[in-house]
């Protein structure tokens, strides 16, 4: 069970944010292309940062508390998935605020008259 410590946290975040898609209809899972581009723009630099810090010895991972699958630069699978799950949850939260507070602009609103 100890091996699931990190994976459980990622699953918790995914489950906790799922109602935002289903009930608030934030439409983040529905926009996978836009989400994928964000993952590239954010995930790549942060994974590189993480690899550099791990290689420099700033921190290490207790592999008795991860699934034991090691990826690029000595990062556990969960650590790489962290940079997918956290951006996803962040964006869903921003979209949830937008849905519940229509008068607070996020900055990418298109007026109905604008060409798409």
């Amino acid at each position: 069970m100890e091996q699931l410590t990190y994976a459980a946290m990622l699953v918790f975040v995914l489950i906790a944010t799922l109602p935002l898609e289903v009930l608030l209809r934030v439409g983040v899972y529905a926009r996978l292309r836009r989400l994928g581009l964000v993952m590239l723009c954010v995930g790549v630099p942060f994974v590189l940062w993480d690899v550099a810090a791990t290689q420099a010895g700033h921190w290490s991972f207790d592999t008795s508390r991860t699934l034991g699958i090691e990826l690029v630069g000595g990062l556990p699978l969960e650590e790489v998935l962290f940079f997918v799950v956290v951006p996803l949850a962040s964006i869903m939260t921003l979209e949830a605020v937008r849905v519940t507070r229509r008068s607070w602009p996020v900055g990418d609103e298109t007026r109905p008259s604008d060409p798409q």
């Binding site: 009930l23 605020v97 519940t100």
Partner: protein, 119 residues
């Protein structure tokens, strides 16, 4: 370079990215700070789970030593950079017309609840 210095640079780059490079200016918006406050609450919860169980082992020489619960204070800044950049790129790609934001109504059940509350 220590982790403390790295996260300060990370935060500075994030501010420059949002205000000057992407010009998304999320840092000036109430919607952003509200969303960030919610994410921060969950970051404190989940990071406490991970650090109290020793998933991460920090080199004491790489961090300043201040902790929030069992988590190094540096993690808060790292999280701020990650969360803010994620939202900024999301808004930027939306502005570029990639699956842009359109008016969406909440699920009818939620809408009914909201209407009920305001009665």
């Amino acid at each position: 370079m220590t982790h403390s210095v790295a996260v300060l640079i990370g935060v500075a780059l994030t501010v420059v990215l949002d205000l000057a490079v992407l010009r998304t200016r999320l840092l000036t918006r109430r919607a952003f700070w509200t969303a960030y406050a919610i994410v921060l609450f969950f970051q404190l919860l989940t990071n406490q789970w991970l650090t109290s169980r020793g998933v991460f082992v920090y080199d004491p020489d790489a961090i300043i030593g201040w902790r929030v619960g069992t988590a190094p204070v540096e993690d808060l800044l790292f999280g701020f950079a990650l969360v803010t950049q994620s939202m900024a790129w999301w808004v930027w790609w939306g502005r570029r017309g990639v699956q842009p934001s359109e008016a969406r109504d909440p699920h009818p059940v939620v809408a009914r609840l909201a209407a009920f509350r305001h009665r």
